[in-house]
Symmetry: C3
Subunit: 344 residues, 3 copies
């Protein structure tokens, strides 16, 4: 029983039909040891493959013993703690990185991303939208949408407040994990499944979708769409936009390399390399025609932005007198970088 | 007693002077039946016109009997449920669609919109700002602003948290109703009185004011200002802007037709027809001068954007080499549509 | 003991090592009277300078008596109220406006700003980032980040919800004070230390950083970055951007004068004077070259935007046919103002 993909002990919430609404994994594992998996599969009823096995407290308690005996004391301790709960418990075993086929499986994969155990695009999320239920995330926990109106009326009758903060398939990340070394000024804008690098600050205007995020230190005041990855040392200015790939299908995957900068209210529809700058207020789409300029300012050629995709040391700006979009190489870029960072 | 405009049984909150702060109607009615209204008016002290009648549990219980006898069993059941509450109860009767004259009347009209019983501009909201109080919406419910500082201090002394999430005349919609078939990733940005069509997703960057919204399936990542209506199949890209009409008075009412698209960080100050596109990053105001181009790319005429208001099958873009804003007819538009949808 | 800078009686929260996470001052004072300070310093153990003195209930009760005897009855009443709490209490004395050296001192200064006792740039905040801890702001209060994972697991085991709404050094202002005469539609976007003028409405898309804000009546639907001040009667359109100075160092301080307007999705990297307008969608940075036009539309000169910094009665727009950024003087500006206000 070797080379398992992932393992997680979870506690979650269910609707009144005992269907999962969400699962919380406090310590998910990537590549769990063979000993750990052996301890689990000899305790619970596991028939191979990927499985989310709902268990009662007693089984979780037995699992704690088995894990401790196998030397997996951290997970053993967690199982022991979980066994004291009367909430729905689940043991999720992912033998392989196949597409998620249940809520506990989907949530485990989202946790892998937000715990930084895998990077964006590093786990198979095919069909995730179909697997996850649309849930009302409230101050009284996750509520099935079909059960919400009754709950809202009941709360009102008692003079209680039931606030519905989010109606979505994806909850906010920080209710599940806050990775080390980050600030996230307004957590409602970071979905579970985001990958927030150590040293990243997400300001109030920042946004990070699932399967997307930063790899290291970044100041994010713009929007990181699904699938977009931002490299070490790159900043997204306030209100800046990165085009996502969710509804496109087969399109260019947008990314930002290292030490690049999107100015405030700018946007990109092409991937950027390292040390690139897009001037504040300028939106570059793949089809944007660009005047490529030499260091001396002379026109080299007219080129489509998509042909500059992924290249490093570029500065994009709109000439404020001619109205033409221009691209310069890095010398100018470095100078402007200092200036634009003033917006952080 | 026929042709009544609207009816609602409500439970709400009041300040310490028994003034209404808000009212929650779980099942508001448009065009209630004559039988239902007869049952109500023969039970409570109603002197005609539009009225919000505050009642005690006992009266609400009697009303339940009367409604059930009249065959209005859904409302009868609701009245029966409400009669078990010790919270402030109200019976709101709107004989006509006159301007709202009280908090319960204003809230009933906002509920009509969010329950999709009327479309934006479909109910008379004249003077609504003057009728609604500014309220602190907190995790302990609605609090009168004059009473807030004392409440905040008291909470702190007890080590309790009192969070003030919104200070506004309009609360967030989802605390009152979540219409069917929607996702709203960050509910703080959708006001009660918004009309969210079946099939609409409002992403975190989306916003919908009251008396505004979508009519059907839409992906909304931009801002739908007060009074703006977005038609079936149209999308608003991230950070896109629609000009509102609240403070203008007598100005053009902005709308978006069917299957149109505002690109990310774009904006409009004119209404769009069907199958229109505004390129990412481009803001079209009514006064924007536009080069109208033929299918072969030749200039037809120079025209103000306001003269293209409401027309269909248009693509607006800024020529990235000449800097001129251009408008093309639909053939090009259809091609670009596919591309821009990648930002959803 | 005269000319004291500031004084505050606070109640706050601490982590499990009795380190401050935050402090709430319900009635901070600027320039407290000599009599008040004498009453304080004769009651508590104060050795001069700026000090945050943690006290128990008994001492707070004695202080109440001393304050009342000194005629400082408002603070005396507050001290009396605080003496009934079992939460951590603090007496913060700022003899001078030196850089804050502790959490209670930093929070007192942020309160001075948000209580409108000082204007932005009106108090010394040097080194504030180093003084304030990064905190998880949750529905169960402020939680030390090191203690958060355990708390999250415990909550889940009990079926409780622990929502982490903000991970930041700065909490949201309205949990500490809601100044009079404001609406703030979405409070998560206004940090403690913001200065919100009487008559200001911050819409959902508005944002105000600390040490920044408005001085009077304003409609704010854009972002007021750290250090930026917006004058009486000026409006920021939806999604508009002001460049901050936090990470710049030595750069231009951005401000907006009176009765000016940033259009939707516009932005500025220069300070504006009075009665200025920046057209929707246009971003003006310090380096933007601008065609300065006379009233008759003729070109006066080509000029960098930084050379127009702080000047009044200017209208910035991008010529939608030539693509050139233009600046006109005020006559046109006044006309456009009416039009653009339609976006409020």
């Amino acid at each position: 029983m070797t080379n398992f993909y992932s393992f997680g002990l979870g506690v979650g919430s269910q609707n009144s039909q005992q269907q999962w609404l969400d699962v919380f994994y406090s310590a998910p594992l990537l590549s769990p040891s063979a000993e750990l998996i052996d301890a689990v599969t000899s305790t619970v009823n596991y028939s191979g493959g990927n499985a989310a096995i709902e268990v009662d407290s007693q089984t979780m308690s037995k699992l704690a013993d088995a894990l401790n005996s196998a030397g997996a004391t951290e997970q053993g301790q967690l199982a022991s703690t979980l066994s004291n709960s009367d909430q729905p418990l689940v043991i999720t075993l992912l033998a392989t990185d196949d597409a998620p086929s249940s809520v506990p499986e989907g949530y485990l994969k989202l946790h892998l991303l937000s715990h930084r155990l895998v990077q964006p695009h590093g786990t198979n999320l095919t069909g995730l939208f179909g697997v996850l239920p649309n849930v009302a995330w409230t101050n009284q926990g996750a509520i099935d949408l079909a059960e919400l109106p009754q709950r809202q009326l009941e709360a009102r009758l008692k003079g209680e407040l039931l606030t519905v903060d989010c109606v979505d398939k994806f909850p906010k990340m920080t209710n599940y994990v806050v990775p080390t070394g980050v600030r996230i000024a307004h957590t409602a804008r970071v979905r579970l499944g985001a990958h927030i690098g150590e040293g990243t600050t997400i300001m109030h205007e920042g946004f990070v979708n699932f399967n997307a995020g930063t790899l290291g230190t970044s100041m994010i005041e713009g929007r990181i769409s699904a699938g977009v990855v931002v490299g070490e040392g790159s900043d997204l200015g306030g209100g800046s936009s990165t085009m996502g790939t969710l509804s496109g299908g087969g399109n260019i995957v947008i990314s930002v390399g290292k030490e690049s900068l999107l100015g405030a209210n700018s946007g990109i529809g092409i991937p950027l390399g390292d040390r690139c700058i897009v001037e504040s207020g300028l939106y570059i789409t793949a089809g944007t025609k660009v005047n490529l300029l030499a260091d001396n300012g002379e026109l080299v050629e007219e080129i489509k932005a998509r042909d500059l995709a992924g290249q490093s040391d570029l500065l994009f700006r709109r000439n404020s007198l001619s109205g033409a979009v221009e691209c310069l190489s890095n010398k100018s870029a470095i100078v402007l970088n200092e200036e634009l960072h003033a917006n952080n």
